[in-house]
Amino acid sequence: MQTARIEHTVAQDAQDAQDAQDAQDAQDAQDAQERSWELPLQYRASEELERFLGDPNNPANVISFHNVMQWDEQEAFPQAAVDELYRFGMNHYYVPAAYGGRFTSYEEFQSMARVAARRDLTTAITYSTLIWSTLIWVGGNEQQKRHLAKVLRWTKDAPTLAYSEEQHGADLVANHTKAVKTEGGYRLSGEKWPINRATRSGLVAVLAKTSDARDSRSLSLFMLEKRDLDPAQYSNLPRVKTLGLRGCDISGIRFNDCLVPESSRVGEVGEGLELALRAFQVTRTLCAGLSLAAVDTALRSTMQFAVNRRLYNGTVFDIPNARRILSDAFLDILICDCMATAAARGLHVSTEQFSVWSVVVKYFVPVTLERTTQQLSVVLGARHFIRERHMSGIFQKMLRDGGVVSLFDGSTQVCLHALGLQLRHLLKTRRREQLTDDGARRTRLTTVFSLDETLPVFDGTKLDLFSRGHDDVMQGLVAAINALRALQGDEALGVTVLSHLKQMAGVLEQALRDFDSALEAAAEAGQHPQSALMFGLASRYAQLHAASACLQMWLHNRDALDAFFAGGEWLVLALDRLLAQPQTQKPDLPDAYHQRVAQQLFYLFDEYRLFSIVPLALAKTESMAMNAKKEDRHEC
């Protein structure tokens, strides 16, 4: 008994000493934070946009939570917010540099969109219809490109995407809207609904049947300018009421034998579906930014509550379970951030593979982060249900608005289906090529993952409907694991963390083997590509892709990003979060890792920085910030 107690005390002392050491380490790490890294250049424009838009907590700023919530309550179109983005010149970032615009990379673009969307998803989703210009950049002729560049840069006309019909959603080939050839152009008839910004936009990208066959070459794409049309030949449909995005112009458009000029056709006759699917590869990838933005605000709003709300002699943030939910939410963000950032960069590098990458991202990020936001509502408690007061009630708006991301632009189901169809090819190619050290792939992966590498100019002609079994992120996994195994602990990376990382690499390898055999079994059994099993496998593939993206992002940027990132505790937990299944054999991970993540979360919250692997500086109003905190304390 006696000995046991002594042992206990010794153990306790050791634990205390360890805790003190951990705390000291954490402090040192934090001190090193500001010094040790520099914001990658491509994130400067986002910080600039942040400063321009100002602190959303300050009602004096146009896109403030206060105003945003008022517009939402009134279901008012956020015109002032849209104008504010024009005032910054955001429209120029939708036009490639070659056509006089400021677009340089999807990484920069996505980060800027995230900064705008963290204030209001309704505004961001309205504004972002400018992204349908991608159809022209990818498939238009020189004249169309030059003209659209002019329209986007010097007017406030925006394109809208009119694909869906009331009777036909995802199945585009089943569309009814027709374009019949006539002298000088086409006669369009049919109805598109529900369409975001249909009534207010000046340009309409329409997919219409140019042949009666029900096949993949029966559709052509048109980019119409409403001002060229006879107003008697088309009409806008009434706005529909929606759960989220209540200020958006979700309406539709009807064409009544409407004459449209020949020059409005984009690409060849019959090329519509192909173009639509190729452009989706860009936009689906970028959807991740919207989800990351929504969850950033949801987490910030919850933190604002959790660190100020006092109960049981502490704060909500002191309750271990609440803190764990918060730090896990932050982990989800880091995971999705790694995946989304790699994909935004990958568009420039592994462009041919985006029939796979885009659906992986479009499935995984929105679904994961919508779940994360649901989890956060548990911590925010009553306030998540209230449409005012705590940060003007922005949380529940983000929850409602954010829900649309997994649904439009190729729903979760559509993405899993498309991914499932390619799994067999992905497995075969990975098996065949993973043991060879492909120099070209290695170079591509370095460009994709090293944030300080310059990206090549995006070339949309390389977008292809089939990746031929290639997915660099997954094909690079074996090499990444080998690189991890060769690492030695250093100043930035503790030996314990490294050893846990190496163990998690083993878990990852096992998970991949299990996945491969499950997939082979499914293929042998001739599983239906839309079966629950295939969807489950596609989902698992996306998780493995995420794990691989996290590992490679870390390996390539240990020196480029902050001490928290380099420390690797988050990565151990991220891999654990992605891979663990009930039967998984895995190491016991110390609570200190979770504490480290929680600490970084608090630091970023307190310092007004984005919850991200690249925690750029957010706008703050000095006096406001103090007041907001005090005010909240009163209210809580």
Partner: protein, 142 residues
């Protein structure tokens, strides 16, 4: 899958030219993808008619690419939407790829050598359960 169907496939394999060999292999792939009886596939009928949707068609072009080990456009089946049209396209392409062609022709000869299934074997086929039938069929597909 009836024994009749198997006989039909086998006959094609044994007796026909490269174009037919291509057609029969394509028919097999399709019947697998679409889960319909190969005998039901008319080589001159547009594939969407059998329920092959746009992205299925892209994946199938990938299967063909794998099988022939040549680069093919991913929209091949959009532009050549019947079995006969695809086979015709491939045959033309193969003229420019003597190596691949020789390999395929080798296969044709090989299957000719194996001879026709005799009557007794065909009766046996009728007694196979669906799984055995599947196995047999997958052995027939190159």
């Amino acid at each position: 899958m009836s024994a009749n169907a198997v006989r039909k496939i086998q006959d094609i394999k044994v007796n026909e030219t490269l174009a037919k060999q291509l057609e029969s292999t394509l028919t097999e792939m399709l019947s697998k993808t679409l889960r319909i009886d190969a005998a039901e596939i008319d080589v001159t009928r547009p594939l969407p008619h059998y329920g092959l949707d746009s992205i299925d068609a892209v994946t199938l072009a990938g299967d063909l690419e794998d099988w022939l080990n040549v680069d093919l456009p991913s929209t091949l089946l959009w532009d050549y939407p019947t079995v006969a049209a695809i086979a015709g396209f491939l045959e033309e392409q193969l003229d420019a790829m003597p190596e691949v062609k020789a390999k395929l022709e080798g296969r044709v000869t090989e299957s000719k050598k194996q001879g026709v299934i005799d009557k007794d074997d065909l009766d046996d086929l009728d007694r196979l359960d669906p799984q055995q039938m599947d196995e047999l069929l997958s052995n027939l597909i190159p």
